[in-house]
Symmetry: C4
Subunit: 237 residues, 4 copies
């Protein structure tokens, strides 16, 4: 399948097979995401006074913190659902994964800016833009990983659903950016809505599992489901 | 047992079996807890002067730091005792674990606030409240994990002991909160007391191990102990 | 060997065998040490000016940073040499390990204080005291782990050498503390000297390996070396 | 092969075989690199104002951050390509790895200094010097690891290519340092260029894979390729 097969064999003799396994890349990504999730608290400034009013005054900090925490946790969970199917880490997967981590890492910075300016329009718009860029990086990673499963009909269906869902998320972010200039809290609510959509990673997969189950009952005995994927099944779009 | 068994099989074909293993979730939780434990030191401000008096003046920092460190270490140890029995990471376990990590992560923030206000009443009450909320998140996780062991009589006994212990901890926190307004140091001592209760994770389990041992000697030969659990044994409450 | 064997078996049925494996405890300790090592850089304040003089003026920062970094790296390496022989994590090992990590974690704080006061006497003495306390925690962990190997003559020899080396280290720290009040740089040099002693973890072990090798040649055929250890070999002290 | 073989056997009986496996050293290095990569964002100061102009004014922060992030990610990827071939962690590998991590860890500090002085000449030159020192530490680690593969002709070729590439990188840094005093942005571009060269870790290896492939076709049947390496093949330089 791979045109450079003989060359790949020669290279394997030199660098060994798979210097970076999917498990190791997943562990590294887990580490980076765990750190992003946890250092965010260091960005928060404690109130100078010991009064309840001083703490209540910091509500934009707590709102921003909760949304960002939930958001990054959702990325972590979905990243695992993604990587679970990766068979081999090639260069495009490696670098699109680094790109995704890069897009997630300034979230504590922009969260703090938005919080310290008390959800001002421009910082909130920048925050939503960060989310859009991270969503786009996720989309790219999804497509790059998706190429490995090509040929398996089931996976193609799931990938397509996943990518469609991702495009919906990106569209919601695209709406959240201009909205930030008029109603920053509505903009934040839109960002939060996307995180909710992803909180149950197998939501869409379950829907496809239902379809699949039905199909299996009807034509499983003909063994047609596992044939190499050659295009969308008739009547599916 | 699971009503959606056939659907689950179809879904497994799509996303693979167990995208997130208990081991990986444990490793991620370990990572987050290790970071919380260690970054707390970054919240501490070094004295401006090089005099012994300047260091001694910071005693609230050191007291708060020691209690929070010990407290988080205790959570780490007990988290392992918990997860040891998890067979499969389902969505409720996943999210109640994220919720627990979320409740632990602001501890450095509230520790710093309490320390920088020199154990003022309100910040100390907020600190105790954080502990109560984390204790409640632990209780929820305990119950959610407990559902997996249902049907095994031994486990049910242990889970019940664990949950009773947890409710006692939450009650002590509930007392510590109002106490903070009158005697912050007593409030802190109560929080510390709970950590002590959990420092030996198998303390209660050992007590149950004793009971179990006795029972085994008396009726082990009848094989009644391993029968599916249908309710509290007569004469146990 | 363990008097509570039957009880332990009953407890295993309840919590499973070994909720926390040596490997997991080692991984957690590695995580904490990696974080301590790396966040130290966050404590350093960058010079306000872009002039070479501004950077040169910060030499106490760089000296302190290098020593602390080297010091923590040495702990990391020796921790592995320690844990390599741990067969089972019991409660004393668990908590003396947490105590060691606790003693290492304020090193960035005291490093910064010493650096920001430009190696003033008192902060340098406090820094050396931190090192002494960490050394004592290491000594306790060594003794606690040592109990597991008891009965194996070779291990007893190595443990004894290790503990003697540790007591020497603690003595050097004890000297470094008063010295700090007269010559802070000499005090720091003493601390650095201890780290050098530990930089090659098997230095003393190698010496014992030599002794062992000789012994093996002389009496290996009698099989006396592997008999349970009952006291120091005659003529060894 | 190793002259101290019998002594090594005696030592193994004492400390066990390999207290620190390559996998564990790799995991620790991964942890340190993940933390360096992620805490860099904590060094960035958020703008005080909520205005777009305030964010645009911080462009030196973003440029520095992007370059440093990309740079550290490249080290992470290449570190894995390196360690993949390590069979046993000996003391020189252990300490040259610690030295590399030490050289990478002040990157957030010097990145922040360069950014906060808005790419002033001297801080940019110091930044380039940090890169040169890290490159030199990488070169040393490469040579130390390279000694393990000695005797295998293929590996020698790859190692030689890797070391040549590393010397080119160091030369570019050596040029970037004085350039920083005249044109800081050109200096930064040179540093970025090196990172680009390393972004595809197997670039040079692929070239050698081609050579190897050709050779194999011509003389593979004579089995000469796998003979112990005794010097550069005739006509290769």
């Amino acid at each position: 399948m791979n045109p450079s097969e003989p060359k790949a064999r020669a290279r394997n003799r030199l660098v060994g097979d798979e210097p970076l396994s999917p498990g190791r890349l997943e562990a590294f990504s887990d580490g980076v995401i765990a750190i992003i999730l946890t250092i965010m608290v260091l960005e928060l400034k404690v109130p100078a006074s010991a009064e309840p009013k001083a703490l209540a005054h910091e509500w934009p900090i707590f709102v921003s913190y909760v949304i960002s925490y939930f958001y990054i946790a959702v990325y972590w969970i979905n990243h695992h659902h993604f990587f679970h199917r990766v068979k081999r880490v090639d260069l495009p997967i490696l670098w699109s994964n680094v790109a995704l981590l890069f897009c997630l890492s300034p979230i504590p910075f922009f969260t703090e800016w938005m919080a310290s300016t008390r959800l001002s329009p421009f910082p909130t718009a920048v925050y939503a833009t960060t989310m859009l860029v991270a969503g786009a990086a996720f989309y790219v990673l999804d497509r790059v990983i998706g190429r490995q499963g090509i040929g398996e009909a089931d996976i193609v269906l799931v990938r397509r659903a996943s990518q469609r869902k991702n495009l919906i998320a990106i569209s919601i972010y695209a709406v959240a950016i201009p909205v930030a200039f008029y109603r920053p809290t509505v903009s934040l609510a839109l960002v939060f809505l996307v995180a909710l959509l992803y909180a149950v990673p197998s939501l869409w997969i379950d829907r496809y599992a239902d379809i699949l189950e039905d199909k299996e009952e009807h034509r499983g005995e003909h063994g047609t489901l596992h044939k190499p994927y050659t295009g969308p099944p008739a009547g599916h779009h």
